[in-house]
Protein backbone atom coordinates (compact mmCIF):
# COMPACT_ATOMS: atom_id res chain seq x y z
CA UNK A 1 0.00 0.00 0.00
CA UNK A 2 3.02 2.28 -0.44
CA UNK A 3 1.77 5.35 -2.29
CA UNK A 4 4.21 6.55 -4.98
CA UNK A 5 4.66 10.24 -5.77
CA UNK A 6 2.15 11.65 -8.21
CA UNK A 7 -1.00 10.08 -6.74
CA UNK A 8 -1.53 12.77 -4.10
CA UNK A 9 -2.06 16.50 -4.58
CA UNK A 10 -0.09 19.16 -2.73
CA UNK A 11 -2.80 19.83 -0.14
CA UNK A 12 -2.96 16.14 0.81
CA UNK A 13 0.83 15.88 0.85
CA UNK A 14 1.09 18.91 3.17
CA UNK A 15 -1.71 17.78 5.47
CA UNK A 16 -0.46 14.22 5.85
CA UNK A 17 3.13 15.42 6.41
CA UNK A 18 1.93 17.78 9.15
CA UNK A 19 -0.21 15.15 10.87
CA UNK A 20 2.48 12.47 10.63
CA UNK A 21 5.20 14.84 11.87
CA UNK A 22 3.01 15.61 14.87
CA UNK A 23 2.31 11.92 15.42
CA UNK A 24 5.96 10.89 15.20
CA UNK A 25 6.98 13.78 17.47
CA UNK A 26 4.46 12.64 20.03
CA UNK A 27 5.65 9.04 19.69
CA UNK A 28 9.23 10.17 20.39
CA UNK A 29 8.10 12.12 23.46
CA UNK A 30 6.08 9.22 24.87
CA UNK A 31 8.75 6.62 24.10
CA UNK A 32 11.34 8.85 25.75
CA UNK A 33 9.27 8.77 28.92
CA UNK A 34 8.24 5.12 28.94
CA UNK A 35 10.70 3.08 26.90
CA UNK A 36 12.78 0.73 29.04
CA UNK A 37 16.03 -1.15 28.57
CA UNK A 38 14.25 -4.43 27.87
CA UNK A 39 12.28 -3.01 24.94
CA UNK A 40 15.38 -1.81 23.07
CA UNK A 41 16.31 -5.10 21.29
CA UNK A 42 12.65 -5.83 20.57
CA UNK A 43 12.34 -2.47 18.78
CA UNK A 44 15.26 -3.44 16.53
CA UNK A 45 13.95 -6.96 15.92
CA UNK A 46 10.45 -5.78 15.04
CA UNK A 47 11.76 -3.21 12.56
CA UNK A 48 14.02 -5.85 10.98
CA UNK A 49 11.25 -8.45 10.84
CA UNK A 50 8.67 -6.06 9.41
CA UNK A 51 11.08 -4.95 6.69
CA UNK A 52 11.96 -8.55 5.78
CA UNK A 53 8.37 -9.76 5.89
CA UNK A 54 7.16 -6.83 3.77
CA UNK A 55 9.38 -8.11 0.94
CA UNK A 56 7.45 -11.38 0.84
CA UNK A 57 4.44 -10.57 -1.29
CA UNK A 58 1.88 -13.35 -1.15
CA UNK A 59 -0.62 -13.92 -3.98
CA UNK A 60 -4.27 -13.02 -3.39
CA UNK A 61 -7.13 -13.13 -5.90
CA UNK A 62 -6.75 -12.42 -9.62
CA UNK A 63 -3.10 -11.57 -10.24
CA UNK A 64 -2.79 -9.33 -7.21
CA UNK A 65 -0.42 -9.67 -4.30
CA UNK A 66 -0.32 -8.37 -0.79
CA UNK A 67 2.28 -8.15 1.93
CA UNK A 68 2.39 -7.73 5.66
CA UNK A 69 2.18 -4.19 7.02
CA UNK A 70 3.24 -5.31 10.48
CA UNK A 71 1.91 -2.33 12.45
CA UNK A 72 -0.63 -4.46 14.34
CA UNK A 73 2.07 -6.94 15.36
CA UNK A 74 4.37 -4.17 16.59
CA UNK A 75 1.52 -2.43 18.41
CA UNK A 76 0.35 -5.62 20.12
CA UNK A 77 3.88 -6.39 21.35
CA UNK A 78 5.13 -2.90 22.21
CA UNK A 79 2.13 -0.56 22.12
CA UNK A 80 0.85 1.82 19.44
CA UNK A 81 3.28 4.72 19.96
CA UNK A 82 6.30 2.42 19.82
CA UNK A 83 4.76 0.89 16.71
CA UNK A 84 4.49 4.33 15.09
CA UNK A 85 8.25 4.76 15.63
CA UNK A 86 9.05 1.30 14.23
CA UNK A 87 6.83 1.78 11.17
CA UNK A 88 8.30 5.23 10.55
CA UNK A 89 11.82 3.74 10.52
CA UNK A 90 10.72 1.02 8.08
CA UNK A 91 8.82 3.39 5.77
CA UNK A 92 11.61 6.00 5.79
CA UNK A 93 14.22 3.38 4.84
CA UNK A 94 11.97 1.91 2.15
CA UNK A 95 11.43 5.37 0.70
CA UNK A 96 15.04 6.63 0.84
CA UNK A 97 16.96 3.43 0.06
CA UNK A 98 14.59 1.13 -1.82
CA UNK A 99 12.44 3.70 -3.69
CA UNK A 100 9.28 2.05 -2.37
CA UNK A 101 6.80 4.80 -1.56
CA UNK A 102 7.31 8.37 -2.75
CA UNK A 103 9.25 11.10 -0.95
CA UNK A 104 6.26 13.43 -1.06
CA UNK A 105 3.91 10.58 -0.19
CA UNK A 106 5.98 9.59 2.87
CA UNK A 107 3.75 11.59 5.21
CA UNK A 108 0.67 9.79 3.92
CA UNK A 109 2.38 6.39 4.04
CA UNK A 110 3.44 6.98 7.66
CA UNK A 111 -0.08 8.17 8.47
CA UNK A 112 -1.79 5.15 6.84
CA UNK A 113 0.57 2.28 7.62
CA UNK A 114 2.14 3.78 10.74
CA UNK A 115 -0.45 5.75 12.67
CA UNK A 116 -3.82 4.42 11.44
CA UNK A 117 -2.71 0.77 11.26
CA UNK A 118 -0.94 0.83 14.64
CA UNK A 119 -3.79 2.37 16.59
CA UNK A 120 -6.60 0.47 14.91
CA UNK A 121 -4.72 -2.83 15.25
CA UNK A 122 -3.89 -2.16 18.88
CA UNK A 123 -7.35 -1.10 20.03
CA UNK A 124 -9.14 -3.86 18.11
CA UNK A 125 -6.79 -6.35 19.77
CA UNK A 126 -7.51 -4.80 23.18
CA UNK A 127 -11.25 -4.90 22.50
CA UNK A 128 -11.24 -8.57 21.51
CA UNK A 129 -9.00 -9.66 24.40
CA UNK A 130 -11.24 -7.80 26.84
CA UNK A 131 -14.30 -9.58 25.38
CA UNK A 132 -12.81 -13.07 25.00
CA UNK A 133 -10.42 -12.96 27.93
CA UNK A 134 -6.68 -12.46 27.87
CA UNK A 135 -6.07 -16.17 27.29
CA UNK A 136 -3.93 -17.65 24.53
CA UNK A 137 -7.08 -18.13 22.48
CA UNK A 138 -8.22 -14.54 23.11
CA UNK A 139 -4.81 -13.18 22.16
CA UNK A 140 -4.60 -15.17 18.92
CA UNK A 141 -8.13 -14.28 17.80
CA UNK A 142 -7.57 -10.67 18.90
CA UNK A 143 -4.35 -10.43 16.93
CA UNK A 144 -6.04 -11.81 13.80
CA UNK A 145 -8.92 -9.33 14.04
CA UNK A 146 -6.63 -6.44 15.00
CA UNK A 147 -4.31 -7.17 12.07
CA UNK A 148 -7.16 -7.60 9.59
CA UNK A 149 -8.80 -4.37 10.77
CA UNK A 150 -5.52 -2.44 10.58
CA UNK A 151 -5.11 -3.26 6.88
CA UNK A 152 -8.77 -2.65 6.09
CA UNK A 153 -8.84 0.76 7.82
CA UNK A 154 -5.49 1.83 6.37
CA UNK A 155 -6.79 1.03 2.88
CA UNK A 156 -9.93 3.11 3.49
CA UNK A 157 -7.86 6.09 4.65
CA UNK A 158 -5.62 5.59 1.59
CA UNK A 159 -8.70 5.61 -0.68
CA UNK A 160 -9.90 8.84 0.92
CA UNK A 161 -6.50 10.46 0.28
CA UNK A 162 -6.61 9.32 -3.35
CA UNK A 163 -10.13 10.70 -3.74
CA UNK A 164 -9.36 14.04 -2.07
CA UNK A 165 -6.33 14.32 -4.37
CA UNK A 166 -8.49 13.75 -7.43
CA UNK A 167 -6.68 10.55 -8.48
CA UNK A 168 -9.87 8.50 -8.36
CA UNK A 169 -13.42 9.33 -7.23
CA UNK A 170 -14.34 8.09 -3.76
CA UNK A 171 -17.12 5.89 -5.13
CA UNK A 172 -14.53 4.06 -7.24
CA UNK A 173 -11.43 4.11 -5.03
CA UNK A 174 -13.10 3.22 -1.74
CA UNK A 175 -14.83 -0.05 -2.68
CA UNK A 176 -11.85 -1.14 -4.81
CA UNK A 177 -9.27 -0.47 -2.07
CA UNK A 178 -11.41 -1.83 0.78
CA UNK A 179 -12.39 -4.90 -1.27
CA UNK A 180 -8.90 -6.05 -2.20
CA UNK A 181 -7.50 -5.18 1.24
CA UNK A 182 -10.23 -7.15 2.98
CA UNK A 183 -8.53 -10.14 1.30
CA UNK A 184 -4.95 -8.99 1.91
CA UNK A 185 -5.93 -8.41 5.56
CA UNK A 186 -6.56 -12.14 5.97
CA UNK A 187 -2.88 -12.73 5.18
CA UNK A 188 -1.93 -9.98 7.66
CA UNK A 189 -4.14 -11.65 10.29
CA UNK A 190 -2.70 -15.12 9.72
CA UNK A 191 0.93 -13.92 9.81
CA UNK A 192 0.33 -11.71 12.87
CA UNK A 193 -1.32 -14.45 14.91
CA UNK A 194 1.30 -17.00 13.80
CA UNK A 195 4.13 -14.73 14.94
CA UNK A 196 2.32 -13.94 18.19
CA UNK A 197 1.82 -17.64 18.80
CA UNK A 198 5.56 -18.20 18.24
CA UNK A 199 6.33 -15.42 20.75
CA UNK A 200 3.92 -16.97 23.26
CA UNK A 201 5.72 -20.30 22.97
CA UNK A 202 9.29 -18.99 23.04
CA UNK A 203 9.26 -15.66 24.92
CA UNK A 204 5.88 -15.22 26.60
CA UNK A 205 7.52 -12.72 28.98
CA UNK A 206 7.82 -10.21 26.12
CA UNK A 207 4.04 -9.83 26.23
CA UNK A 208 4.27 -8.65 29.81
CA UNK A 209 6.34 -5.58 28.91
CA UNK A 210 4.69 -2.23 29.39
CA UNK A 211 2.93 -1.02 26.23
CA UNK A 212 4.01 2.35 24.91
Amino acid sequence: MHIPDGFLNIATVATTYAVSAGGVGNAVRIANKKLGERQVPLMGILAAFIFAAQMLNFPVAGGTSGHLIGAALAAILLGPWASVLIMSCVLLAQCLIFQDGGLLALGANIFNMGIVASFSGYYLYRLVTSLLGNSRRGKLIGSFIGAWGSVFLASIVCAIELAVSGASPIGVALPAMAGIHALIGIGEGLITSAVLSLVLVTRADLLKLQRI
Partner: protein
Protein backbone atom coordinates in the same frame (compact mmCIF):
# COMPACT_ATOMS: atom_id res chain seq x y z
CA UNK B 1 27.75 -17.89 27.51
CA UNK B 2 24.05 -17.61 26.93
CA UNK B 3 23.32 -16.39 23.42
CA UNK B 4 21.21 -13.22 23.39
CA UNK B 5 17.66 -13.99 22.27
CA UNK B 6 17.64 -11.12 19.83
CA UNK B 7 20.66 -12.47 17.97
CA UNK B 8 18.65 -15.60 17.20
CA UNK B 9 15.64 -13.45 16.30
CA UNK B 10 17.81 -11.36 13.98
CA UNK B 11 19.02 -14.53 12.25
CA UNK B 12 15.38 -15.55 11.79
CA UNK B 13 14.67 -12.12 10.22
CA UNK B 14 17.64 -12.56 7.86
CA UNK B 15 16.34 -16.02 6.95
CA UNK B 16 12.92 -14.50 6.20
CA UNK B 17 14.60 -11.87 3.97
CA UNK B 18 16.45 -14.55 2.02
CA UNK B 19 13.13 -16.02 0.88
CA UNK B 20 12.40 -12.76 -0.94
CA UNK B 21 13.05 -14.09 -4.49
CA UNK B 22 10.06 -16.39 -3.97
CA UNK B 23 7.70 -13.44 -3.37
CA UNK B 24 4.80 -12.91 -5.75
CA UNK B 25 5.68 -10.34 -8.41
CA UNK B 26 2.04 -9.46 -9.05
CA UNK B 27 1.05 -5.85 -8.36
CA UNK B 28 0.03 -5.17 -4.76
CA UNK B 29 -3.45 -4.04 -3.71
CA UNK B 30 -2.90 -0.33 -4.36
CA UNK B 31 -1.09 -0.92 -7.69
CA UNK B 32 -3.88 -3.25 -8.80
CA UNK B 33 -6.53 -0.63 -8.01
CA UNK B 34 -4.45 2.08 -9.71
CA UNK B 35 -4.16 -0.08 -12.86
CA UNK B 36 -7.82 -1.12 -12.91
CA UNK B 37 -9.16 2.36 -12.20
CA UNK B 38 -6.77 4.04 -14.64
CA UNK B 39 -4.64 6.28 -12.44
CA UNK B 40 -1.40 4.24 -12.39
CA UNK B 41 0.14 6.68 -14.92
CA UNK B 42 0.00 9.48 -12.36
CA UNK B 43 2.83 7.72 -10.52
CA UNK B 44 6.27 9.29 -10.81
CA UNK B 45 9.69 7.66 -10.59
CA UNK B 46 11.84 8.57 -7.62
CA UNK B 47 14.33 11.39 -8.40
CA UNK B 48 17.21 9.11 -7.33
CA UNK B 49 17.77 5.38 -6.99
CA UNK B 50 19.78 3.57 -4.33
CA UNK B 51 18.61 -0.06 -4.17
CA UNK B 52 15.51 0.58 -6.26
CA UNK B 53 12.74 -2.03 -6.10
CA UNK B 54 14.73 -4.21 -3.72
CA UNK B 55 17.24 -5.26 -6.39
CA UNK B 56 20.87 -4.56 -5.52
CA UNK B 57 22.38 -2.79 -8.54
CA UNK B 58 25.18 -4.32 -10.61
CA UNK B 59 24.44 -7.97 -9.89
CA UNK B 60 23.32 -10.07 -12.85
CA UNK B 61 21.56 -12.82 -10.93
CA UNK B 62 18.29 -11.19 -9.86
CA UNK B 63 17.62 -13.66 -7.04
CA UNK B 64 21.01 -12.91 -5.50
CA UNK B 65 20.48 -9.16 -5.98
CA UNK B 66 17.09 -9.39 -4.25
CA UNK B 67 18.42 -11.45 -1.34
CA UNK B 68 21.32 -9.02 -0.90
CA UNK B 69 18.91 -6.07 -0.85
CA UNK B 70 16.78 -7.89 1.71
CA UNK B 71 19.71 -8.76 3.99
CA UNK B 72 21.09 -5.21 3.84
CA UNK B 73 17.69 -3.69 4.55
CA UNK B 74 17.01 -6.05 7.44
CA UNK B 75 20.36 -5.21 9.07
CA UNK B 76 19.87 -1.47 8.49
CA UNK B 77 16.41 -1.54 10.05
CA UNK B 78 17.65 -3.48 13.07
CA UNK B 79 20.51 -1.01 13.56
CA UNK B 80 18.36 2.09 13.08
CA UNK B 81 15.47 1.06 15.35
CA UNK B 82 17.83 -0.38 17.99
CA UNK B 83 19.91 2.80 18.04
CA UNK B 84 16.84 5.03 18.15
CA UNK B 85 15.42 3.03 21.07
CA UNK B 86 18.80 3.03 22.85
CA UNK B 87 19.11 6.82 22.49
CA UNK B 88 15.57 7.34 23.78
CA UNK B 89 16.37 5.22 26.86
CA UNK B 90 19.77 6.88 27.44
CA UNK B 91 18.55 10.43 27.09
CA UNK B 92 15.94 9.79 29.74
CA UNK B 93 18.58 8.85 32.27
CA UNK B 94 20.87 11.78 31.57
CA UNK B 95 18.77 14.81 30.68
CA UNK B 96 20.78 17.30 28.64
Amino acid sequence: MKIKWWLIALLVCLAVASFSPLASSSPDGLERVAEDKGFIDLGQEAPFQVIADYVFPGIENEAVATILAGLIGTLILFAVAYTLARLLVLRKKKPI
